[in-house]
Amino acid sequence: MKNVLTPGLQVLKSTKLKKIRELPIKGSVLVKVGDLVNGKQDVCRADLPGDLRILRIPERMGIEVEEVLAGLKIKEGQSIQQGDVICEHSGLFGLLKTTYDSPNTGIVEFITKKTGNIGLRLPSKPLSLNAYVDGKVVSIVEEKSVEIEVSGSYIQGIFGVGGEKYGKLKVIAEANEKLSLDHLDNDIEGCILVGGKLPDFNFLLQAEKAGAIGLIAASITEIPLKTYLGYDLGLAVTGDEDIAISIIITEGFGDLNFSKRVYDLLKNLDGKMASINGATQVRAGAIRPEVLVSGDFSIESDVDSRKVTFESGLVVGQSIRIVRVPYFGERGEIVEMPNKKEVIDSGAKARILRAKLESGEVVTVPRVNVEIV
């Protein structure tokens, strides 16, 4: 696999990128091209059609379908209020009257003659979509979407949980510190906490109580994550979790330190407003969690590094990081890219590369076990 898609998580001090904010259905766009927006500002709005609720009336009233149809007090297309009588039935020669009242307000969408069931469309629900990022509106699709251009820093994590959040970055720990309650102060409400590794459940709980909305840490372990989420995570498909703090992990699971480049950049951004999203989907064309901070920083690169990675693959001289034992977390530079497969310690034959680590040691590693940095 010469053109192997080596994951190169993007760590860009300054870049330009575009975010599309799209409604799931037709609605209205609240901004115009050229507008400057901030992350909390609503940019689109729509009315989501209400759910269709099936009212199984024969089952509820304990009568036959024909009896339901004969006793219906409503018609298709009719608007009804909660409590309105939908069906009335007289039993025992008219001595016992029973009714079925509408459990909701809505519009009668259908009445099925075979089953006596009724489809009630509930009222629509308003949906607002915020900008998520600070930037400039560069294009709009009427009734549908807004494209916002952002200039600033962009960092991808390896794994995250929780959805979009917008708040102030607050560095609370050094790169290699184990996070503890001592790192939390009273001034973290609405903040995205940055630094350290291995938060435990108590840390997350206290941070949540103090109003933090995000955490960017080097690593985490199973138990605090499981306890905080309330369930065990078996698949790296995340983003919809109902949690107060979105968590972004930059390195992985276990006792791992921050990559210096990532931590240094985050530290430089301390105090700035950031947009983060823990959504992760580890598949081909993976979605990784992200941190986005808009601002006018010195331009370092304006290039989509993923595109470069995909097209060029690994080359001699490239800086890499190893992501598997026995060299997990080590950084180095590629010094050789042999064409032929070689036998590695596991006994398997694999495409390998040789890298000079920061310690000066030259090691052989499978090409798929490195990330471009």
């Binding site: 696999m1 010469k2 053109n3 192997v4 898609l5 994951p7 759910d51 269709l52 609720r53 099936i54 199984r56 379908v65 259908f110 099925t112 075979k114 089953t115 069931n117 489809g119 390896i158 794994f159 372990t221 199973e222 065990d232 995570l233 078996g234 698949l235 790296a236 992985g252 699971f253 276990g254 992760t280 580890v282 598949r283 081909a284 064309g285 989509d304 993923r306 595109k307 995909f310 992501v323 598997r324 034992v325 026995p326 060299y327 997990f328 590695i344 310690d345 596991s346 006994g347 398997a348 034959k349 694999a350 590693v365 499978p366 798929v368 076990n369 990330e371």
Partner: protein, 597 residues
């Protein structure tokens, strides 16, 4: 392109998997049809590339580099094949983008819904959910669940012909209320296949036509004792091509490249496997353990001697994306028990979760390899349990059943898959096909499938079965030739007596004879290997040494069979089934005995 098999000399086949697109070159050589070159590249069906043909072209380039054959000119194939240029035919299978994702809905869980599941799975689908009127969920729960699924196709059935009508219509109403949106094609109507009670077909269509494109086919369960899965399966394939493939990123180009329809990968695997099993009269089990899912295929004789094909997908049991899910479902202690040395639970968990978030990485050390192989054993165990629960026979009536189905059966369910009667197991997927030691792959299958009796163990060398499945639709003889010569690697035969623990006091369980000469004794809780020259056709006989020992013919009964000896001869396994008391020390001994340490 050439489609007449007599004129074919060079065929290029891809399998566009969820992670990797694998291209194989098949050529007619002096020694017959052979698989000659292989190229692979990351699949590019998802963003940022979002065009499946980019990955395919990258894989072709690798084949060009390795073979020296120039295949492409300006992203078009050069045809027909010349000496070192061009190809005659291009074929493909696909499971990219998560494969064919289906929702099945029926009325009774163990009757119509289960039949619908078999139809969907046999056609190569992944069942996102199986909804039935008696599944224990409230109406709103079903609506909520369906609403959040994005199926490619919905298969709705229920009610035998002339039977239940109300529940079928109610199920249609539930789908209407949920109004799930198809995964691909924003403007596309949801494809729904209705294969239920014909008496309410009109009402079902009326209800669903607002949100779906409804295709009516024959009832897949026309009576309680009959299954008729063929029409539903054909409809699934039709929708797969017209509504799923054609709307997936880049597939329009891919479909135009080949004169033969693109097949769902599992359906292609099923085709080649069923052909082989029926031709050789073998009860066969095949597993493809991938990164996200594990597919299990079986071809087993039913009670009236017909071969019945079944396939199941364990959607979240896999070796990379889903590896942490195997950890959750199996439990860390079940994974750790297969390791030859003790590793801390926390380390096992962290390593597996790191594999989950970096799914392309591979083990570099032996210890890391053994951990993944331990996970594999548990994934195999769990997926076989799942398969056995769905691969059932409906006893009594002789009927017809195609690769995905076409059969009818009576309603008394019984498990078709019986490890004691299993003749052959074939493993594929990276962890098995690319295991550094073939015996390591065999041991994973012996342990994970809890093999019993006498079973031949093989692996698909480079997961070629999908390619051969689609090739067999054009040139079955070439496909079979390559299957035997290049695809299937026969590793060994395992001999596993099963015994009553308390009644079996002595250590020696059974004597093994090859051509009437004793070659070994199966000893309680020991594994040994008996070396016999590969390729030798011989008669193997195993005689129990204690009355309580069963080798497949009943307690105390001997077994005999003619076999062709595989590369690593015989494995005599004296561990009783199910394997419960495995500890690291015992695993260490086994690894040593088999030369895996």
């Amino acid at each position: 392109m050439i489609t007449s098999k007599e004129d074919l000399t060079t065929v290029l086949v891809t399998d566009c998997g969820s992670t990797t697109t694998k291209a194989l070159l098949f050529e007619k050589t002096k020694s017959g049809w052979r698989q000659t070159f292989r190229g692979e590249a990351p699949t590019t069906v998802e963003k940022p590339v979002a065009d499946v043909t980019v990955g395919a072209l990258n894989a072709f380039k690798e084949i060009e580099e390795l073979s020296g054959r120039s295949i492409l000119k300006d992203k078009d194939f050069k045809t027909p094949a010349q000496k070192k240029e061009g190809i005659d035919l291009y074929l493909s299978t696909s499971s990219a983008g998560g494969g064919l994702q289906m929702l099945v809905c029926g009325v009774v869980k163990h009757i119509t819904t289960e039949s619908a599941e078999r139809a969907a799975l046999g056609a190569g689908g992944i069942v996102l959910d199986a909804v039935s009127a008696d599944d224990g969920r409230e109406d709103f729960e079903r609506v909520e669940k369906i609403r959040h699924l994005k199926p490619d196709i919905v298969l709705l059935c229920g009610g035998v012909d002339g039977g239940s009508t109300v529940h079928v219509i109610e199920m249609a109403e539930t789908i209407l209320a949920a109004a799930p949106r198809p995964r691909f094609g924003n403007t596309l109507q949801l494809p729904v296949i209705y294969a239920g009670n014909k008496n309410v077909a009109k009402e079902v269509e009326e209800i669903l036509s607002e949100i779906a494109k409804v295709l009516m086919v024959e009832n897949l369960r026309p009576t309680v004792d009959k299954e008729n899965l063929g029409p539903a399966r054909e409809a699934i394939h039709e929708f797969f091509l017209s509504h799923v493939m054609s709307h997936s990123p880049g597939y329009n180009k891919l479909l135009a490249w080949s004169p033969v329809p693109v097949m769902p990968t599992p359906a292609a695997v099923g085709d080649i496997m069923r052909t082989y099993a029926e031709k050789n009269n073998l009860n066969t089990l095949c597993v493809d353990i991938g990164g996200a899912t594990t597919d299990v295929f079986s071809v087993f004789k039913n009670k009236v001697g017909e071969f019945i094909f079944n396939r199941t997908v364990s959607a979240n049991l896999g070796m990379s994306y889903s590896i942490a899910n195997v950890l959750i479902e199996a439990g860390v202690e079940n994974i750790s028990r297969w390791l030859p040395s003790d590793v801390k639970d926390s380390e096992v968990k962290d390593r597996l979760r790191n594999k989950m978030i970096r799914p392309s990485s591979i083990p570099q050390t032996k210890n890391d390899l053994w951990l993944e192989q331990s996970v594999c054993r548990e994934a195999l165990r769990l997926s076989l349990e799942h398969h056995k629960s769905l691969a059932v026979g409906l006893s009594g009536v002789t009927q017809q059943r195609g690769i995905a189905s076409i059969f009818s059966q009576t309603s008394n369910r019984y498990e078709l898959v019986d490890q004691m009667k299993l003749d052959m197991v074939i493993g594929s997927g990276g962890v098995l096909s690319h295991a550094p030691e073939r015996l390591g792959a065999a041991l994973m299958m012996i342990d994970g499938f809890s093999l019993m009796g006498l079973t031949e163990i093989a692996v698909d060398s480079i997961f070629m079965m999908p390619h051969l499945g689609v090739l067999s639709s054009v040139h079955p003889e070439a496909a079979e030739e390559i299957f035997l010569n290049d695809c299937m690697v026969r590793i060994c035969h395992s001999i596993v007596p099963v015994y009553k623990e308390k009644a079996t006091k002595k250590l020696n369980l059974a004597r093994v004879f090859v051509n009437h000469k004793e070659v070994g004794i199966v000893i309680k809780n020991k594994i040994q290997r008996v070396d016999i020259p590969e390729g030798q056709v011989c008669e193997i006989r195993v005689e129990p040494l204690q009355k309580s020992v069963d080798l497949g013919n009943g307690q105390g009964e001997k077994i005999s069979k003619t076999i062709t000896v595989a590369e690593y001869g015989l494995i005599l396994d004296g561990r009783n089934r199910p394997i419960r008391n495995t500890k690291n020390e015992l695993q260490n001994e086994i690894y040593k005995e088999l030369g895996l340490l």
